[in-house]
């Protein structure tokens, strides 16, 4: 401890600067988002060969596409000639190749340099060597995860975050997330540091105060203990509640693999560093964060349902409305905190109450990655 000792009930948060300092943010980009597996896009968003998305991962723009053989490919979105940004659109589809808008270097869907002005006069320019530079990819839960590290850590690190929450991997596999369909997507532009959003997601001390509707559906949230506090615990729906909807009315068709034990329960998982997953019997809510600045984070949220539910045009709005409301309530709270992070009063940070103590593990994780260690 640097200053006064705290009562046993309380532990400290990170200092205010951790949420505002652009240099700390740059380090997080380098040592967290560019070093770990990062959940980039929903695989079904790349439906056909040539469909692409560009995403910011740490400080890099990454181009993700599907090649002719249907494999997923990800590249640094940087032309090998003189560095023009290859694709400026966030999403789109090319017929056969990516062409740099500057001097027309042209790369096929596997990244190989296939054409360029005067290229045949330069037979010593290797077409693979001067092709786009790839980054590691994995598909899991129907999403494309990328890793910019030269030697990516084992993907099992990602899976272990789910195991730590649910106790095993079967529990999540039963929701068959790969094969669910996006029924709704909402993108939130949150004026808050990404860590405020993670911390908020991890605790439920705030639930009874800012989430009256959610607490109606999950009455045990009034205790303030998040589903994330216990291993394998799912919060149970209230006795009168028919489904995970804004008014507790009937939900959609239940995902067939969901067990009796998992039925009428809500599970929440944080997959570090930037994914939150909520599991309910009839749908899955999947959040991806894209931290863009120390004080700004884009959150892309998918509501995933059974294919036939989406295809038949069933009304999913009441279930979307519930968590959209929860998200807006949460992000408002994060945005309320962000300005105070630079207050003189918050220089040493705030405190965590017992039902929030598990957030300390997240702080340890961040400090370990940055090599700053805790001062306690």
């Amino acid at each position: 401890m640097t200053s006064t000792s705290l009562p046993d009930s309380l532990i400290t948060t990170l200092p205010g600067s951790a949420y505002t300092d652009p240099e700390i943010f740059a380090q997080e980009q380098e040592r967290i988002f560019e070093a770990m597996w990062f959940c980039a896009v929903r695989s079904s968003d790349l439906a056909r060969p040539g469909a692409f998305r560009t995403v910011e991962v740490g400080r890099e723009s990454i181009l993700i596409t599907r090649a002719r053989d249907n494999s997923i490919r990800a590249f640094f979105n940087v032309c090998r000639h003189r560095g023009a940004k290859l694709c400026t659109e966030e999403t789109g589809e090319v017929k056969r190749a990516f062409q740099c808008p500057y001097h027309a270097w042209t790369y096929d869907l596997t990244g190989k340099l296939v054409a360029a002005p005067n290229l045949t006069k330069m037979p010593d320019v290797g077409r693979s060597e001067y092709g786009l530079v790839g980054v590691a990819t994995r598909e899991w839960l129907g999403y494309v995860w990328v890793c910019l590290a030269e030697n990516p850590p084992p993907f099992d690190e990602v899976v272990q975050d789910v195991v730590a929450r649910l106790g095993d991997t079967e529990s999540i596999e039963r929701y068959d997330i790969d094969n669910l369909e996006v029924g709704k997507r909402i993108v939130y532009d949150v004026k808050a540091n990404w860590k405020l959003i993670v911390e908020n997601f991890m605790e439920c001390y705030h639930c009874a105060t800012i989430h009256p509707e959610l607490t109606e559906v999950l009455p045990e949230f009034a205790d303030g203990y998040a589903a994330q506090y216990y291993v394998g615990h799912g919060a149970e729906f209230g006795a009168e509640v028919k489904g995970f909807t804004v008014d507790g009315s009937e939900g959609l068709d239940r995902i067939p693999g969901v067990t009796e034990e998992q039925d009428r329960r809500y599970y929440a998982i944080t997959v570090r560093p930037q994914v939150f997953i909520n599991l309910v019997p009839d749908h899955v809510i999947f959040h991806r964060m894209y931290p863009v600045a120390a004080d700004r984070t884009i959150v892309e949220c998918d509501w995933l349902y059974l294919k036939h539910v989406v295809e038949s045009g069933k009304d999913v709005s009441r279930s979307v409305e519930l968590f959209d409301l929860v998200n807006r309530q949460d992000f408002d709270a994060c945005e309320r905190c962000q300005p105070a992070m630079s207050s003189r009063l918050y220089a040493k940070g705030g405190v965590l109450v017992p039902s929030e103590h598990h957030i300390g593990e997240f702080h340890d994780f961040v400090q370990e990655r940055l090599g700053t260690g805790s001062s306690q």
Binding site: A104, P117, K121
Partner: protein, 119 residues
């Protein structure tokens, strides 16, 4: 006549670039026909063998000009002038090309180089 390669070595839908001066590309279409045209696009220095073959047409990989393999005619701009076509023979499974005696329509930068000017 210049030998190119064995027909079996050139799968349908692919092209072979014959490295003579100026280079010639030989296409084996999806329908099984073989055509030879000048390899260099008449718009800029791009290899048409690297382009996209569709039916009896090749699309330049750089700015999408299209040339008819049978006539060399421009089917889509920005190229304005046709490419030359060359006669093709297949003898005992071997592809041969009889180079055209017409003057080639090379793009400005290459024509300048051939004329000895700085490009």
């Amino acid at each position: 006549m210049i030998p190119v390669c064995l027909l079996v070595e050139l799968p349908r839908g692919e092209a072979y670039r014959l490295d003579i001066d100026p280079p010639v590309s030989v296409f084996h279409t999806d329908d099984g026909e073989v055509f030879a045209i000048d390899d260099t696009c008449t718009h800029q220095d791009a290899s048409l063998a690297d382009g996209w073959l569709e039916g009896c047409e090749v699309e330049c990989p750089l700015h999408a000009s299209k040339f008819d393999l049978r006539t060399g005619a421009v089917d889509a701009p920005p190229a304005k002038r046709p490419v030359r076509t060359h006669e093709v023979f297949v003898v005992d499974g071997m592809i041969y090309v009889q180079p055209s005696t017409e003057a080639p329509n090379l793009p400005p930068c290459i024509a300048a180089r051939l004329a000895g000017e700085p490009a």
